[in-house]
Assembly symmetry: D2
Homo-oligomer: 465 residues x 4
């Protein structure tokens, strides 16, 4: 690699049917003159990849593009992986109907989940579908492009990355999630409010990150020489902050603002355990048993359940899109201007290529960065991205109470992983029983679990269902 | 110590107001010609000790007694401990009214506990009362009789022993519990039923023991060359075994048979997790969230709640007894015949004195006997009692699913211990939140917790209540 | 299995060319009426097995024999293993010439070893030869008789057992060594001397055992209620005990008493580190750098080097024996009387069959019995033999200074194991460099190492030598 | 703290009699406009502090100075510490005569050390002198300025930092050493030579750091997108590189170039173990037994022993300086120009104050950054300096062979620390015996050890010497 010329790289992009992520990656790439090369797209639904090729061409031929990448759809994942320097994994584990089941079946048994893609019975179900696919990709990657860096965007993040390493311990994979950015924005607002300065950009908020994906915490934060913890302590004393937010929640629901919240649950962790939650309230609530005891209780914190119908409607739009394309009716994508996504994917590539340095948070097997938690478990902490290396930074220890909550999540994830790898129904049920959301009679849980297995049957070959 | 003459020992017996235990110990001692010496009794209620002196004299002067011990009541614990070779701890942590609160307050918030002396909000509350007392005894023992072996009978067993070691890491203490004997009896019945032989005595059942007190398991068992696990596997297939036991439960309740059960929950652990529970169902049910979801659900397994009124009535009897003694109305205890209790306390003393060998189960800090669980946590496994040493035996590993359940209990116990040692209200509440039985909204839990603290106020000096 | 009839078992005996061990095992078996069955012998030198068949027949047909076993030689190990309940491994790793090299080559570079079969450059060399054989046996056993218990007598004990588990983690193997018995005898003599009682049998000496094979320690010992540590402390003050023993050593050498010693090095560990060594001085001296600095220094402790010529002469006798047999000249073995060997092999079999209980010391992967040392490393401690189970007893912790010495040995063994499994020359040299006896310039060590590899070439296929 | 104005800080500087370090720190400070404030100097030899005040005044009044600090000498360390934000520790543990003994006594027993201030018998001896002093400073700091950051420059670095944390686990201390800079310079030269580019500044060399102080390694290194490991692999093949360097060594000795070397030992670690040594050869050679077998063997690598006479002559110069000052004869220090030292002390202060970010290597208790090594042991790795925090970066794992060598050093350091804290002669001797350089008969080692204790007697109160 020279110092000035653009470096030639090949990127394999697996999945991406949702297109939001693929578009972001390609736009960021188009605005990065240090790279040039090829982008090979693969999706189990070939039209989805072809649609993305169209988007990619529009982006790289855009007048504002500062570099060129060849974008093409591949018939097999092997073809896409051949010669890849970087592999993005961004798949949907099964049809949206299955995602809807992940929400609806537990709900019938009294277990509510606002997201259901990470943890709880819904997350476990999704993981069981995903694990075999990820094992297969891990093996293929190590056969075809063993030196490539693998960047995962799929949920359940932790179990996807865990499955890659379980299948191939030498794989160079990590998981990316922007959930923590929201906490940086929140802290930037506190800086503005309490320090009476213009709101700083999120990147200026120095935050320790510790936990597992979507159940992350910020045990220390500062801005420009100011410790932000005293500001949080002050903020949670705000008059009215802890008032019942049911009205707000009901209005959100009426308007279909499914993802909104006031961040009260993140603050509640600060109040009860002394450490700020660093994921959205919809996620945080799913990892402990005391917010989702009823929909009403959740609403009191200003958070609502996302109905499965909404999930299905999104999928329908996608299906219509593909149908239109098939009939030649879909117009060429039009892109007004190329705008950076705010994601860090491309910066990670630059750093791994040795062209920049980057410190960010990332999901990686625990090599010591969270010494209180089991080595090997995939955790989310800060890390240094450098030439062909990602080195985690040892986090400030979480308070014992929260550390234990995280550890329990990891234990449930381990049982889920083992169950998925070995197609072991007993272990899978033990995972369900050990999940903090499972507070129903054991025989009811058994009935629910079997119903979920049946709903996933098509994606659980070898389970003897 | 010579080989034949009785060895002179001094025993300090602290507490024992309940008298059942003290009587057992003294009877077993009277039937053990290898020992002679002195037994010094202390209770914070002096009359309780005096009553036990009377019992002791009746025992040692009994014609069937094979040895003599001087029995006397001491005014201070220090007096009792002076020169002691063995210290028994068998206290009641606070008046029975507080025990009743441990049951009743959580029940008002929807948390049910059949026993409430070990785990759950009730067990945590009891532990918070007990810890300072145990810290004080540990210090006094290490000052006055540092070489004495300390044998604890008080509940919560695990936290009592933990508190001793937290205060004085060099103390020679362990905890004894006969709960596992019941499982040996149960297995002896299976031997009789399936191997068509006369029922063997429980001591012939070779059982691995692993877990924490009252949440113990038997991961392997044999009798006379026969592996007993296949028998259990066969037994749980018995027609009708899993039928709804509500009727049985209601009858037990009607007749005040508070402690009866069919052992179905112990078998349910075998069915779900592949390992036999080794404590009574009333205890086992308290360590996981899926049996105590309602009284009805518990009854379905043939187990009932012990009402606090029953506990209080027991206490009243004791009070009446003391009152009678004060008024000189209490008759001298009459003892027909001396009968071995079946407990192992005296055998332990013999082994520690180097006069016999003994293998039994015991509660001790984890030194490696359960390598999956944190070192230092008090666990229950088999151990070898030899001359001045108790060496734990490494247990057959518990299945991963159950090992995690035990580990969670240990984590809650650690938070409780830290809270108790440091009088830390936040940590104590985190212990409550992390207990598997706590499945209520966090603010309700907070209200419950504060009510419990107030109820314990008289025994929580320094907590700023 | 019934309670009274002899239980039918099949034993596979692999190796045993040395015949001492095989004869002991068969004699003990003949005196054990609880067993009957078959003994299948296999040796890579078929005549060696045939010779042992002759010995076996003489034993089991002896008038004093209390049971019968069919004894037969097998053409393949697979044939011997078929249906085996117990497998004895007792092989010689390569011709005696190679053993002689293990002693002689290091000696030319200034590294002296009295035994050279366990540790040091000689032990490492022997291990490299042995590991592939043991890997192959492990695989064959798990294919043919996976439920059999495997009892290893071959040295290097630790690495043989380690190799079995490295190849097949589910194998039921352990290693037996009688070295600790000598320490029990030594302690029995102290009992006689200082307590003025008749010398007790070694089995009455209760001794904790901790360490790795041949580098074991007794951190606590008692007899009949007497702590023996004060006796040892008194004994090492004996006038003249620490005098220069060169004269004794030279006389031992002159008379060819190669294995004699005064046990001073075992006591020196007590003096320097506070814990009694529990193997012979010839072994203990090989694990630290400060006794074998020169032959003179070793002699000062009354220990001598066993010359390789002596080892070769033993081998020659064996070769002559075989030659005689081939020529039909060898007389039938005559056995005057059957005498128990004092070894514990048969007692172990009885306990594993559920017919007895046995507590003894044994070599097993660390499952927690030595919590200061790496889990999985093969260590020697006490253990309980019960029906189909061997459960290690957690040892009294070794003092930190000695624990570290043992840990270093384990680290060198791990490097050796990895080197042997992967045929990795770099790792093997790192093992040599990390051995406490290797105190020579690194390039000299490299030359020595290459010379040793060449000498082992015939038994190191795949090493590219 | 505002964004632009200089931040007011107070620095306590303890020791610094050597003045090199103090002068560097003050010069760097004078060139750092972000800070202003006070510098309080304390030395057990008051004149040494006064001399440094003179130096400081000359620096801060220099026309090139960009900020002002008040510099003053304090009569007590308490006075210096009062109100301190940062504490520098840079003391000499005892008179130079004792340092000379650390070299000379072991040499008489055949143990050679080129440096003798870190490890080996000399380093252990120095550590035993230092530990009580550091315990006292730790306690005083936590009493007077518990929130101050403590930066240690004294050797033995690891044991100084360890002693601080042993005495006060909550102290905010770390150790700084520039030894790794030399490796960055070396790698920069390889970049120049093999990549044919101008030699880059050392800061551009991205190097992972792992090990303990002076026994550090660089398991990965890159520059501007180039992996440097292939260059090293190529370099060690250079014709003549491994030739005998005795001639070079003898010339160095003749010219008194005590600290020169060719870095061959650092490369030899690469050759034997696959990882580059990252400290000077004089240090690296002291941690393993195979270079210092004789002075001749050391010389072959181009390294020489630094004679104690040279150390003493340095001290004499210092004494003359002080004497001159006492007699008023010493001229005011003249400083031509202020030049940055190249050290990173001031950058660390800036980052800890939240005014900059810094990634560098540092000595800290292991919190997970080296997961193969014991938690709590002080290790040297990269770390992120941020607002009031130093977070270690998890290093690339060292190869197993080297990791074990480091672990042994840590074990010896732990024994030394325990010995020093408890004034325990037995443990101290066990530390000596466990040091890799101790390859002499145990009774000789005992004699040497006692001689060393006597030589340190004045600084070992409470040892009963």
């Amino acid at each position: 690699m020279g110092r000035n010329a653009a470096v030639e790289i090949k990127i394999a992009y697996i999945g991406g049917g949702s297109r939001g992520w693929a578009r972001s990656v390609m736009t960021d790439l188009a605005l990065c003159p240090q790279f040039k090369g090829e982008m090979a797209l693969y999706d189990i639904e070939p039209i989805a990849a072809e649609l993305n090729v169209g988007v990619g061409q529009a982006i790289f031929q855009h007048r504002e593009a500062r570099t060129k990448f060849r974008v093409r759809a591949c018939k097999t994942s092997a073809e896409a992986l051949k010669g890849a320097d970087f592999v993005f994994l961004s798949i949907t584990p099964g049809p949206m109907r299955m995602f809807a089941n992940d929400i609806d079946i537990p709900a019938r048994y009294g277990i509510l989940q606002p997201v259901a893609d990470t943890t709880g019975p819904g997350g476990i179900s999704r993981a069981l579908r995903t694990i075999p696919t990820y094992v297969a990709y891990a093996r293929e990657i190590m056969k075809i492009c063993p030196h490539a860096w693998v960047i995962n965007y799929t949920n359940p993040m932790t179990l996807c990355v865990s499955a890659l390493y379980a299948a191939e311990p030498d794989i160079k994979a990590f998981g990316c999630c922007h959930e923590v950015f929201g906490t940086q924005h929140k802290l930037a607002r506190l800086v503005e409010q309490y320090l009476k300065v213009p709101r700083p950009p999120r990147q200026e908020i120095q935050a320790d990150v510790a936990g597992v994906n979507h159940f992350t915490f910020v045990p220390a934060a500062s801005w420009n020489g100011h410790d932000l913890y005293p500001l949080i302590a002050r903020h949670i004393q705000t008059q009215g902050l802890w008032d019942d937010q049911t009205e707000f929640a009901l209005e959100s629901r009426a308007r279909g603002r499914w993802f909104t919240s006031k961040g009260l649950i993140a603050y509640d962790f600060f109040r009860r355990f002394g450490v700020l939650g660093a994921a959205g309230d919809r996620h945080l609530a799913e990892f402990v048993p005391w917010y989702l005891t009823s929909e009403e209780n959740l609403n009191r914190y200003g958070v609502i359940l996302t109905p499965s119908l909404y999930r299905l409607s999104m999928w329908d739009a996608r299906e219509r899109d593909i149908a239109a394309y098939r009939q030649g009716k879909r117009a060429k994508p039009k892109i007004e201007t190329l705008k950076r996504s705010g994601e860090e994917g491309i910066n990670q590539l630059l750093a791994l290529a040795g062209l920049a340095s980057l410190d960010t948070n990332v999901n990686l097997p625990n090599q010591g960065q969270m010494p209180d938690l089991p080595l090997g478990a995939v955790v989310e902490t800060n890390a240094q991205f450098r030439k062909d290396s990602v080195r985690p930074v040892v986090s400030k220890p979480l308070p014992a109470g929260v550390s234990e909550l995280v550890r329990r999540v990891i234990a449930t994830q381990r049982l889920t992983l083992e169950a998925g790898l070995n197609k072991d129904k007993d272990l899978a049920f033990q995972a369900i029983l050990s999940d903090p959301l499972c507070r129903i009679p054991v025989d009811r849980a058994w009935a629910m679990f079997n119903e979920m297995l049946q709903a996933n049957k098509a994606m659980l070959p070898g389970w003897g269902l």
